[in-house]
Symmetry: C2
Subunit: 256 residues, 2 copies
């Protein structure tokens, strides 16, 4: 039974891409067949797994415009159990191009049905907005994983995200669940990190993952080498925290 | 002669809002009449200057929909020379609502003409995307200030931003200039920070501000008190770096 997870939060820079890449890689080393879909025009998830712009021709843009099937744009990565669907700058135009198209929010959902069974996990990295691209992901996903940076503004943005999730559940995807809230860039020396994480645990209780992603220099360095953290430095705290997250997602390290 | 600056970068979390608030506040203490416009649906610039959601009724959304004039939504702040135009969640819908409207990118430009002369500086905080809201800001601004976080992905995103700026110059706003590149969250203990800042200085030479914003815990804390840094802790490095930036913008501390 394939599980589709959407990594979303309209607040920018909270660790969506870092989570999408490193959770996917951690699932892949556990020999789960994993597909990482990059639906952010910035294309950070692609470069973070080593795909360069010139290696990418057809991508998710062509799939959303129904010029290609998703099976035509899938690429392999260094990890044998991890494939990736690349994005491109052209996606910026998709918001406008799809506006007058009926059931535009279901383009991704429809095309995924063809290949879903080939994977155990599908992870979708979203842009920092609540437009057509994120709506396509929310309409497709079984559940949403919400990275929450341990900073004040990240906390403030949660109410509008939860409002959007409620709207999506009413209209596009009644089965959408919240997989959990993931605390990211936690700095144990910084008061603000403790305040924000206490606040999130108070509000969302069992829905907060046990795994907490620490602020970790190695996590910031690995994208420039095009490698997920466990291929760059498996012994660092960043790598261990994402392996723990993958365990929780697979159901082994039960959340509280 | 009013100067309108747009703070933009589609990469999320690079310090757009922190720069918009603290540059505006620094100009205001130099007794420059300053208007801060928040055109990001997240509304972080509002809360960062102490405006709470329940104080905001009419906002930039109503102005873009031509239901209100901009002079009807301007609010005062704790600083006598700083006014703010608030945003709201409703802006999320503006992207869709404005699509079929002719010259939709000039709504902000047109309405600002009425009140421009009242201010020395107008600072616009943009969302992390290149959609209609950011295009309205780019069509309105005299120049764009580009915050560049000292991280790998922030560097990678610059090429698509510069591409968009070139397109805007060709179509919407031929007079648009680049005010400069501002290095943010610079951590002198971290190699990556040095690598990214060297790279930016190599590429953009004189266009990089002398002022470098350090990663500074106080800058992360002050939004939760609804205060710009110079009302929260004027002696910290974060406050001094934004005062230096304001000096450069006013033309006193000439860039290289
Ligand atoms: N735990 C961490 N420790 C240190 N740096 C991190 C960590 N997680 C992410 N980063 C870095 O912080 C920056 C923001 O993270 P990332 O790009 O993953 O966020 P995002 O939510 O995907 O951003 P966007 O909103 O632009 O899509 C990146 O430069 C990344 O390398
Ligand atoms: N120099 C700094 N030192 C420490 N923290 C900072 C600094 N600048 C910004 N921050 C914090 O980092 C986070 C991201 O900054 P900010 O929200 O200003 O970025 P942004 O580009 O406006 O994000 P978005 O793309 O979501 O609009 C915020 O929580 C902010 O408080
Ligand atoms: Mg991202
Ligand atoms: Mg912002």
């Amino acid at each position: 039974m394939t599980k589709t997870l959407c990594i979303a939060n309209q607040k920018g820079g909270v660790g969506k891409t870092t989570t999408a890449i490193n959770l996917s890689a951690s699932l892949a080393v556990a020999e789960k067949r994993t597909l990482l879909i990059d639906i952010d025009p910035q294309g950070n998830a692609c470069s973070g797994v080593g795909l360069t712009r010139d290696q990418i021709k057809d991508n998710i843009y062509h799939v959303l415009m129904e010029e290609k099937g998703i099976e035509d744009v899938i690429k392999n990565t260094e990890l044998s159990f991890l494939d990736v669907v690349p994005s491109s700058f052209d996606l910026i135009g998709a918001e406008i191009e799809l506006v007058n198209v009926p059931s535009r929010e279901f383009r991704l959902f429809r095309t995924l049905q063809k290949i879903k069974d080939k994977y155990d996990y599908i992870i979708i990295d979203c842009p920092p907005s609540l437009g057509i691209l994120t709506l396509n992901s929310l309409a497709t996903a079984d559940s949403i994983l919400i990275p929450v940076q341990c900073e004040y503004y990240a906390l403030e943005g949660l109410s509008s995200l939860l409002k959007t999730i409620r709207l999506v559940k009413k209209g596009l995807n009644p089965g959408l669940k919240i997989e959990g809230f993931l605390l990211t860039m936690f700095d144990s020396r910084n008061n603000l990190s403790h305040q924000v994480s206490e606040e999130v645990k108070k509000h969302f209780k069992d829905n907060v993952f046990n795994a907490i992603i620490p602020r970790n220099v190695r996590l910031g360095e690995c994208p420039s080498f095009g490698k997920p953290i466990l291929l760059y430095d498996i012994s660092c705290k960043g790598a261990r925290s994402y392996l723990q997250l993958a365990q929780e997602i697979m159901g082994h390290g039960r959340k509280k």
